[in-house]
Amino acid sequence: MREGEPQSVEIRNLTRDSEVVHWHGLYLPPDIDGAMEEGTPMIAPGASTRYTMTPRPEGFRWYHTHTFAGKNLTKAQYGGLHGLLLIEAHDNPAAYDREVFLGLHDWNGQFLSSDDGYMNPVYDVATINGKMLGSGDPVKVKQGEHAIMHILNSSPTEVHWISFSGHSFKVVALDGNPVAQAQTVSMLRLAPAERVSAIVEMNNPGVWILGEVRKHIQASGMGVVIEYANSSGKPVWTQPEDLVWNYRQFAAAGDAAQLQDAKTIELVFDSKFQGHGNEELWRINGLGYPQNSESEHAFLLQTGQRYRLVMKNKSMDDHPIHLHRHTFEIRRLEDGAEITGVRKDVVLVHAGGTVEVEFVADNPGKTLFHCHQQDHMDRGFMMVFRYA
């Protein structure tokens, strides 16, 4: 889609369940944003609907189902109802020769009790663009090219670490938004729903593997072969020994003084134990959804006001937190000082950590805020901000 150019999208629901499509990262009105919690009408089985939207902001977005799965790990995000979406700016300078789109996903899950006593989905199969390593066609490139890789983690619940043997990534955008400092890194970390756009200089001819860094997940299939023209042979994988990533490296250099006009909203995440054979009930400020969004508890946003969300994760799980219909800026991470220049719509808040983000309430209407792990959403980890 072109940024700012009105666009019609027809959606036909050929499934046996009511569906809704969320346009992740776009600034759309609540009635078509794609969350029933915001008031988007569900699309009945067999029915069609047409959305007319003006897509913005430019950047790498995606769309996906936004329904309930519960214990059925074939429904909602587990089932793979999603797609990649690029909103192109009119003046895209395109400092690259090739675009490569890669989607990471996990399949065939089951709930198992993990070491920390929480029930979590565990998957048999992991793919890139729907194929296990060795099953699909290789991505073909040429020596000397600059390829921009748009990578989406559409996994219902899993964080993924990606490395491209023999190459490095120059990260230029996170969640589709340009970063203050483009950095060259050896690997990427993508929490569920996160995207990374990175330019790769194709300067090492051969046949290589781009895949999950953790051995057992690559063994489950998460990898793709990148093949240079006129190269052949067995794909090469160079195993990294550590997992390295930090949002901070993409922040603006220098001090980042706190903006004075941001109103603070404190959000505490925790869970209520339901038995070792059951998933947790997740809570924001002591209440699960929808209780936390009823009028006596809901936060009212003033249009034009800047807000700082102070997110304290008191649980033993990491949470990829997503804000609908807005972009936020990371202002403080678990490890210290204020930062600026990293704008996103999903941020991973580690277990026991606190992350602070700021956003401007500039898109009136109900706005859903939630953990993007499907099992956590299903068990109450959502909240709706309302505009006054």
Partner: protein, 277 residues
């Protein structure tokens, strides 16, 4: 799991007891069996992960048991049993356990009792079974003063299920003597059951039931069977630690009447070198 070999000292005891069981003996039924009380545990289906070593100490004290030496087998009363169990994970569906059994008692001091080895496999997660399923087999030696049957073998199917706050486990074990007086007795049936409830994330409580019904096809009379119920609590303080405490009551003449048990386990993950593993 229930250690098989401990039963024979109580087997003799049950014979002395009688005279009560004379009828059974005359009928050629398998000698009555008491509970083994070197390792008192109902097995869950999960196995120790690969490159992990589980070290457990089983401490069992018979507060009220057999008081006489019978056929050269020491009495169980006031015996303190310490069992060291080492379980090594092989892969994500197999493990091997090794036991060192000891006993301490006034007049006998601390004694080595015997050793067992126990390979175990389970249904892999990728089978997506609605219950946990595992199969264990255990073979080992024990000294005759603690068990006239010196070589024994056991096969133990394991089924378990966690359902919200409830946990259920069933171990319908089959036992056989390879060397000793009971070598011709055939297969014995020794089921164990556990039901527990999660009061909190850290504290679970419930009941464990252990029995030895005697030879399959010719169960012992009720008083000759072993029937024991333990009230237990499991403390889930950390994934690295296992703590189980219980008090058991024997309800038949062939069973020790009061046993206090404890299991303290620590898991060592010696294979993990980096996060990418």
């Amino acid at each position: 799991m229930h250690s098989y070999f401990g039963k024979l000292q109580k087997t003799s005891r049950s014979v002395s007891l009688l005279l009560v069981m004379i009828g059974c003996l005359l009928l050629g039924s398998r000698a009555a069996h008491a509970q083994g009380n070197y390792e008192i545990q109902v097995y869950g289906a999960d196995t120790v992960p690969p490159k992990n070593l589980m070290v457990e100490l089983h401490s069992n004290y018979t507060a009220s048991g057999q008081t006489k030496t019978i056929d050269g087998v020491y009495p169980t009363n006031h015996q303190e049993h310490e069992t060291l169990e080492l379980t090594q994970g092989i892969n994500n569906w197999a493990e091997v356990g090794f036991y060192v059994f000891t006993s301490e008692q006034d007049g006998h001091g601390v004694q080595w009792v015997g050793d067992h080895i126990r390979p175990r496999i389970r249904a892999p997660d990728r089978w997506h079974l609605p219950v946990g399923l595992s199969l264990s087999t255990e073979v080992g030696y024990q000294r005759a003063v603690y068990s006239p049957d010196t070589w024994t073998w056991e096969i133990r199917p394991i089924v378990d299920k966690t359902l919200e706050r409830w946990y259920f486990a069933f171990n319908p074990a089959l036992e056989r003597t390879w060397h000793g007086p009971d070598v011709k007795q055939g297969l014995g049936f020794s089921p164990a059951v556990k039901v527990s409830y999660d009061f909190t994330r850290q504290i679970s409580g419930g009941l464990e039931y252990y029995a030895d019904y005697g030879r399959i096809g010719s169960f012992d009379s009720l008083q000759g069977q072993q029937q024991q119920i333990f009230a237990v609590t499991d403390l889930n303080v950390s994934p690295k630690w296992e703590i189980n405490i219980g008090v058991g009551m024997g309800s038949t003449a062939a069973t020790d009447h009061l046993i206090v048990k404890g299991i303290l386990g620590r898991r060592f993950d010696w294979g993990r070198k980096s996060a990418v593993e």
